[in-house]
């Protein structure tokens, strides 16, 4: 039995014989306390309305939309790691794709909640959907807001299905491996009666690979549409053809940063060193560095097109450099691109703590970028009457930390109860090699 097979076998046994119950409970307790903050913030919001937040005219889109874009961007990396690298035949992805896809699901769930909570009358969110109604009205299909509804809904459904059909074979193996009846029933129900029949595998592989093939352009389309929320409006600082690719790359960058953090954390907590090797950290570091440098190119292109356009575009640009929200611009530049340069050295890429900290830095930097893009474009018009500063309130921060709690709670439950690494693909690769 090779090392890989032993490690894959261990993955299937992780949930019934969890190796780090204490570390898990400490993390879970922390996550639950943030989740409590989430419920309190949402409850307070339902009682008092969006006036509890700092966003007000002219900055109508404060934290909710910035955080929505941030969470959704993080989600995209899971799909890219899983689907793109599967199609490219990069077998090393097998150690990362399962939990990266789980990250996608939970990040997209957090993202999807934000626009709904931002509605003011969140119980009417279904008005976004086209359905026959007594008011005889239909959604405005020429609006990026409506495109977004379809994009995020499709993305969520496709991500859930892709993740689930990917985990079915491992649930079946975990079912056959489990000793206790309750685990057999739990995995058995999840496995849907999978028995590894050759005819089933043939159809399963067709379905899995084709879904992967269509998931990659889906990611590009979803985040391009997010960018059109901004780029389709005639607002200096937003209306730019650079936005769609710039947003997609930034999304991939922030997502790879999150995947790097989760990888280092899970590798340490669950002792996955046999499957998540220095090579994986190295590859993640390379992905982070390359998408980060592409994002930097996006910054340069955006700067150039604003300066080239001149006029109000350039005024907004210079206001970002030196205006009241300059901290968010320079913060984004610093946290995104300065620590990132350490990843040029392989020795630093394979040092877990360095990769983790650079991941933290990039997620913080990308958050600042979304904040900067939103607020600096909206807070000042060219009329004195339409100037208003944005200040985040306690409830803004409460809900933001609360969604982090929601994400961590769901992710920790996934880690505790399901196979975190795609064991059957590791075994398939080991059999080939």
């Amino acid at each position: 039995m090779t090392e890989d097979l032993k490690a894959a076998d261990r993955v299937l046994r992780l949930p019934p014989r969890f190796p780090a119950p204490r570390a898990w409970w400490i993390c879970f307790g922390f996550a639950l306390s943030l989740l409590a903050l989430f419920f309190i913030s949402v409850g307070w919001l339902f009682g008092h309305g969006p006036g509890i937040w700092g966003n007000n005219i002219p900055v109508g889109w404060g934290f909710p939309i910035a955080n929505y874009v941030w969470w959704l961007g993080i989600g995209h990396a899971g799909t890219l790691i899983s689907a793109m690298l599967l199609l490219l035949g990069q077998d090393w992805r097998n150690s990362l794709n399962r939990f990266a896809e789980a990250m996608t699901l939970f990040a997209v769930s957090c993202a999807g909640l934000y626009p709904i909570l931002h509605l003011g009358r969140p119980w009417l969110f279904y008005w976004m959907a086209p359905y026959f109604n007594t008011m005889n009205v239909w959604p405005q299909f020429k609006s990026p807001l409506t495109w977004d509804f379809f994009a995020v809904l499709t993305y969520l459904i496709v991500s859930v299905l892709f993740w689930y059909i990917g985990i079915i074979p491992d649930l079946a193996a975990a079912r056959d491996r489990a000793a206790k009846m309750r685990w057999k029933i739990f995995f058995g129900l999840g496995a849907l009666g999978w028995r590894g029949q050759a005819t089933h595998w043939a159809r399963w592989q067709q379905a899995y690979r084709l879904t992967a093939a269509i998931a990659v352009p889906l990611v590009v389309s979803v985040h391009s549409e997010i960018s059109l929320l901004f780029a389709a409006g005639p607002v200096p600082g937003w209306v730019s053809t650079v936005f769609p690719p710039y947003f997609v790359l930034g999304a991939a960058f922030s997502g790879f940063a999150m995947v790097s953090m989760l990888t280092v954390w899970l590798r340490w907590m669950l002792d996955l060193h046999a499957l998540v090797t220095p090579r994986h950290l190295d590859m993640l570091g390379c992905l982070l560095l390359s998408t980060g440098m592409m994002t930097a190119y996006g910054y340069a292109a955006e700067m150039f097109s604003a300066a080239y356009a001149g006029g109000k575009e350039a005024e907004t640009l210079f206001d970002r450099f030196g205006g009241p929200y300059a901290w968010s611009y320079w913060g984004a530049i610093f946290f995104n691109f300065i620590p990132l340069q350490l990843l040029w050295w392989r020795r630093l890429r394979v040092t877990p703590i360095v990769l983790f900290l650079i991941g933290c830095s990039a997620t913080a930097g990308m958050w600042m970028e979304r904040y900067m893009l939103l607020v600096s474009s909206l807070y000042r018009d060219w009329l004195e009457s339409s100037t208003g500063y944005f200040h985040a309130t306690f409830w803004d921060w409460g809900l933001f930390l609360g969604t982090i709690g929601l994400f961590l709670t769901l992710f920790l439950l996934f880690v505790r109860f399901l196979p975190v690494i795609s064991a059957f693909e590791v075994r398939e690769e080991a059999a080939d090699g």
Binding site: M1, A151, I157, W201, W204, L210, E428
Partner: protein, 181 residues
């Protein structure tokens, strides 16, 4: 109980994918038609060895994508006439603006159709299957790859068992369906 029902299949157990592949080719060459295999992960080449060519999933995906895109586009056109929003003299049917939702619904239609076809043609989900009663059937083991001759009208247990035994497997297992209560 496992021995009491009508026979469902005979399994031969091999310890490597390579031996399973050789056995599958040999048993096909002997003229057995209703041959299948059970493996813990997809084995490369098994599809060709067992001569499985089912193109229903890709076909369903194509149809689902076309239906999704067309219905997405037509939905936007139809509702624009039903509830016209005449803003700034722009055309009611704005093809570029309608492409986004048409694309998303194409993806959704394609994926749903492909996965639904996969599940339906695999007859999944199901709660039970006769092979789960077979002694030692275990998808988590790394040295158990099962070649199966499934029972049909011309099935003869002894003939199938002999043919499989000639391939020198690690074990031969009879799989019986549960008797009807």
């Amino acid at each position: 109980m496992a021995d009491s029902g009508p026979i469902f299949a005979v399994l031969a157990v091999f310890d490597t994918p390579r031996r399973l592949l050789d056995a599958a080719r040999a048993i096909r060459a002997q003229g057995f038609r209703n041959v299948d295999a059970f493996t813990p992960f997809p084995v490369k080449g098994l599809e060709q060895a067992l001569d499985l060519s089912d193109r229903r999933v890709p076909a369903a995906m194509l149809i689902g994508g076309i239906v999704g895109a067309a219905s997405g586009f037509l939905m936007q056109v139809g509702t624009s006439f039903d509830y016209p929003l005449r803003i700034g003299g722009r055309p009611l049917v704005a093809v570029p603006a309608f492409m986004m939702i048409a694309f998303e619904l194409m993806v959704l239609g394609a994926v749903l159709a492909a996965l639904a076809t996969m599940f339906i043609s695999n007859r999944l989900p199901r709660l039970h299957h006769p092979v789960f009663d077979a002694d030692g059937f275990d998808l988590s083991a790394d040295d158990r790859f099962y070649l199966a001759i499934l029972a049909d009208a011309q099935f003869d247990r002894d003939e199938a068992g002999k043919a499989l035994a000639a391939l020198n497997p690690d074990a031969i297992i009879d799989v019986r369906a549960r008797p009807r209560a």
